[in-house]
């Protein structure tokens, strides 16, 4: 079963390539054009990541995150969320790059294959930057009365954080 998920990505690459060939897409230039976009994305996220990792490393060195984890940890632990992820929970709905920075720091500190590292990764993968998305969508639609959109979206976020913690405990 593990092998299925491990090999899913290489097989997906092959399947996409074969489909592309069958549809007579210029596969090689699509691949390299996409990689070029990837370079641009990497360069675009680098400046915010430098700024945010600076602040996150300072916070971690100061002991503030531990204090916050100690204060709110028992409440989080009671529902199954690892206390170490408190920083990620706080920034995730507000800023995508901040969440990426905090998540990267957690994965680096605790190890990508640890409980905390995996939970942080699953949280990042299964939630979105809620407030940013709400602002962009309602801005584009020129809508001021957002009714229940924000509370409903936040319900989904809370469910995502809980489910990420439970899923990692259940599956690993």
């Amino acid at each position: 079963m593990d092998l299925v998920f491990t090999m899913l990505v290489p097989f997906l690459m092959l399947a996409v390539a074969l489909w592309g060939l069958a549809r007579r897409v210029d596969l090689w230039s699509a691949l390299t054009d996409g990689a070029e976009k990837g370079l641009k994305v990497s360069l675009r996220i680098m400046p915010p990541l430098i700024g945010l990792l600076t602040a996150v490393h300072m916070l971690r060195a100061s002991g503030a995150l531990e204090l916050l984890g100690d204060a709110l940890g028992p409440a989080l632990a009671a529902v199954g969320i690892p206390a170490e992820t408190i920083g990620l929970l706080l920034v995730r709905p507000v800023s995508g790059s901040a969440a990426l920075g905090v998540g990267a720091e957690l994965i680096e500190t605790y190890g990508p294959d640890s409980l905390v590292g995996r939970t942080a990764a699953v949280m990042l993968g299964s939630t979105e930057t809620t407030f940013y998305t709400v602002a962009v969508y309602f801005g584009a639609a020129k809508v001021g009365k957002t009714r229940y959109a924000v509370p409903a979206a936040l319900c989904a976020d809370v469910a995502g954080f809980l489910a990420a913690s439970w899923a990692v405990r259940l599956l690993f």
């Binding site: 593990d2 491990t6 489909w19 699509a30 996409g34 990689a35 976009k37 990837g38 990497s42 915010p48 990541l49 430098i50 945010l52 990792l53 600076t54 602040a55 996150v56 490393h57 300072m58 916070l59 060195a61 100061s62 002991g63 507000v94 800023s95 990426l100 920075g101 998540g103 990508p112 294959d113 590292g117 995996r118 699953v122 949280m123 990042l124 993968g125 299964s126 979105e128 930057t129 998305t133 309602f138 639609a141 020129k142 809508v143 001021g144 009365k145 009714r147 229940y148 959109a149 509370p151 409903a152 979206a153 319900c155 976020d157 469910a159 995502g160 990420a164 990692v168 599956l171 690993f172």
Partner: protein
Amino acid sequence: MAMSLIWTVMVGVAILCGLATGNGPAVAKGALDGAAAGVELCISMMGPLCLWMGVMEVMERSGIAQGLSRLLRPAIRLLYPDFAGDRAVMDAVSANLSANLLGLGNAATPLGLEAARLMAERTPGVASDALCMLVVCNTASFQLIPTTVASLRAAAGSADPFDILPAVWLASLISITVGVTAAKLSSRCWR
């Protein structure tokens, strides 16, 4: 603006807390270490990220996104009953969903915004139930292959960066189900 505030608060709290706990020198060192870590992280993520963007580009050009969008149409009708007959909105919403599933974020956003604009034409200034549902669906994440996170794990030396896939799918599914349910329930009682 929000980011400026968050960053300043993070730095301020770090300095105050560092002074209070006697970790001042570590905070000063942390600032420089963090800046270096930002560059290192970006460079080690670059390879996997480029590979994936390449594969996604092939998906987009070979029509996989459009095919998926057609497949999703019936489910979309159920989510947006008020717009089930509106061809332009249904096209934009299903293309938005399929781009989200494939992780084509750059393609998903303009499609979603187009759908939001069309929906708002019926009820100017007020979010209709359909628009709320669209926003809730886009604030929940349901990427089939979470490439950025996998790149992050690969950069940190994970033995198997993609072993979190089933957990991500499960968590995303629960999150989106709760979001959609909350929106559907609210639409009945929220004025």
